[in-house]
C-alpha cells in the first residue's frame, strides 16, 4: 500500500452558546428563588410535571395549572456515582455521590437530585426525603441543593 501524508490538526477555537430557558423553566427558577418547588399540571391527564414545561407530550396539550409542591417525597431510584465527566474525561470523584430520582408528594414525575445525609451503603429506595435549599438563593437550578432523609 502506498504511503500517505497524514497531518494532524487541532484548533483552539470555541463555539459559544447562550440558551433561553423559556417561560416554564423561568417560572420554576423564580420558585426556587423563593425556596419553592413548582410543578405544572396537564389539563387532560392531570399529571403534575416537575420540572415544569409548557407541553404534555402524552396528551399533546399545553400545560396550565401551576402548583406549589411540598418539598418532601420518596426516593424511587438511585445510583451511587463514583465519576464525573469533565470535558469528556471520566474522572473519579473525591467522594462518590448519590444521584436519586425523587417522587415529590403530589407530583407524577421523578425529580433527579443529589441525595445527602446518608451513606451510599445505607441508601435504599422508599426513603423519605426532603428538599434542602441553599441559604441564599439566586434563581438558578443550584438553589435546590440536595435532598436528605426526613428525620
Amino acid at each position: 500500500m502506498a504511503e500517505h501524508k497524514i497531518v494532524d490538526s487541532r484548533v483552539g477555537l470555541t463555539f459559544m452558546y447562550n440558551y433561553r430557558v423559556g417561560e416554564s423553566l423561568d417560572r420554576y427558577l423564580d420558585g426556587l428563588k423563593s425556596k419553592k418547588i413548582l410543578g405544572v399540571m396537564c389539563p387532560e391527564c392531570e399529571r403534575v410535571l416537575v420540572p415544569p414545561r409548557s407541553m404534555c407530550g402524552k396528551c399533546n396539550t399545553k400545560t396550565k395549572k401551576w402548583v406549589t409542591l411540598k418539598p418532601v417525597g420518596t426516593l424511587k431510584n438511585f445510583t451511587v456515582s463514583h465519576v464525573e465527566i469533565e470535558q469528556g474525561e471520566i474522572k473519579d470523584r473525591e467522594k462518590p455521590i448519590i444521584i436519586g430520582q425523587v417522587k415529590l408528594e403530589g407530583a407524577d414525575s421523578l425529580l433527579t437530585a443529589r441525595i445527602e445525609g446518608i451513606s451510599p451503603k445505607d441508601v435504599k429506595t422508599g426513603l423519605k426525603v426532603k428538599a434542602v435549599f441553599k441559604d441564599t438563593t439566586e434563581g438558578t437550578l443550584q438553589d435546590l441543593d440536595h435532598f436528605e432523609p426526613v428525620k
Binding site: 420540572p51 438511585f78 445510583t79 456515582s81 465519576v83 470535558q87 471520566i90 407524577d108 429506595t125 437550578l141
Partner: protein, 383 residues
Amino acid sequence: MDRKVAIVGYKQTKYSEQNENPRERMTYELVKSLFQDLKITRDDVDTFIISCSDFQDGRTISECYMIPWIGAYMKDVSKVDSDSANAVLYAMMRILSGNYNTALVVSWAMGGSEFRSPRVMEYELDPIYERPGRLINEITAAALQAQAYMAKSKLTEEQLASIAVKNLRNGARNSLALRKKANATEKDVLASRALSLPLRELHAYTPADGACVMLLASEEKAKELTKNPVWIKGVGFCQDTYYLGERDLVKMDSLQKAAKAAYKMAGITDPARKIGVAELSTTYVSQEPIFAEAMGLIPKNSGPAAASKGWMEIEGKIPVNPSGGPQAANPLTVGGLIRIAEASSQLRGEAGEHQVKKAPKLALAHGQIGMAAQHNVVFVLGN
C-alpha cells in the same frame, strides 16, 4: 408496499483505538472493497445515505469533504443525523418508494482517536436543565436504568457481571473487535473501576474508530447482485419522552413499540421462538436483559434466569450479541449499522468464529440513541 428490500452486501473495518487511515481513506477503502466484492461501480448506486455526526466529527456539515471519498461525486445523497440504523431505514424507504433500486448506506466515526464520547453525548442533553444540572449524563442515565431493572427483576451484580463476561468472550472470537478478553471472569468485572453503580468499566461500551458500509437493493436488483440476499422483513422505530423522570426505564415504551411494529410488518407473533439471534446496541450490558424483555425475546423479569442459564450465550437459546456487541467495539453513530451487518452475517452463516451454531432463519438488529435509549430502531431480517 408491493416491493421488497434486501441487504446485498456490507463491509466493516477492523475496529481500533486509532485507525491507520484518517476517516476519508478509511471509508473510501471500505466502499471500494464492497464494490469489488459485488462487482459494481459507483454508477450502480442510485442513492447514497450517509450516517455521521457533526459532534463526533467535530465539523459543521461533516459530510461535505466526504462526498467524493465515498463515491458520491455528482450523485444522489442524503444524510441521516442519528444512529446509522436510521440510515438503513431511510435507504429502505427510498427503495420502497420505487424511485430507486439500490442504496448505499455509509457510516463512520473516529470514536477512539478524534473525540471523547462522554463529552459528545453531553450535547444530547437539553442545555437548560440537565446540562447545567450536571447530574445526568450517559453513564448516570444508564446506571439509573440498570438499578431500576435490578431492583425489579432481582438481577444480582454477579449475574450482571456474567453478561459482561459473555460479551467480552464473544468479542474475543470476533476478528474485528477492539476489546477482547477471552478469559475475563465475573470477578474481573466486579473489580473493574466503578463508574456509577451498579455500572463499572467492564460493563461499558468501548469507543472505537471504524466504519461500515452496506448496499440495499430492490428485489429484482438484489437477485442480480447476490446469491444470498438478506431480506428486511420488518422494521419499527419509536422515540420516548425525553424526561427520564417520566419514563418507565425498565418497560421501555419506545423499544416495545418499535419491536411491535417490526414484528407486525414481518408477520411474527412469537418473537421468542422465531428470532434465532439478536444484535443489540447495548451501550452498557445492563441493557441486554432490559432490551431483550422489552422486545419479547425473553419473558419479563427473566434477566436473572437468562444470565445464570446462559440463554444469551452464542450456544444459548437466544444468542444476543455474538459479535461482542458495543462492549467489543463501539464507533458511536456506526453502531446500528454494525448490528445489522452482524445479524446479516449470522443469517448467511458467514460470522466465522462467532457464528451461532443453529443457522438462524430470522435475526433481530437494533440501534438506539439518547439517554437510557430514548430512541430505538428494530430490524427483523431473514434469508
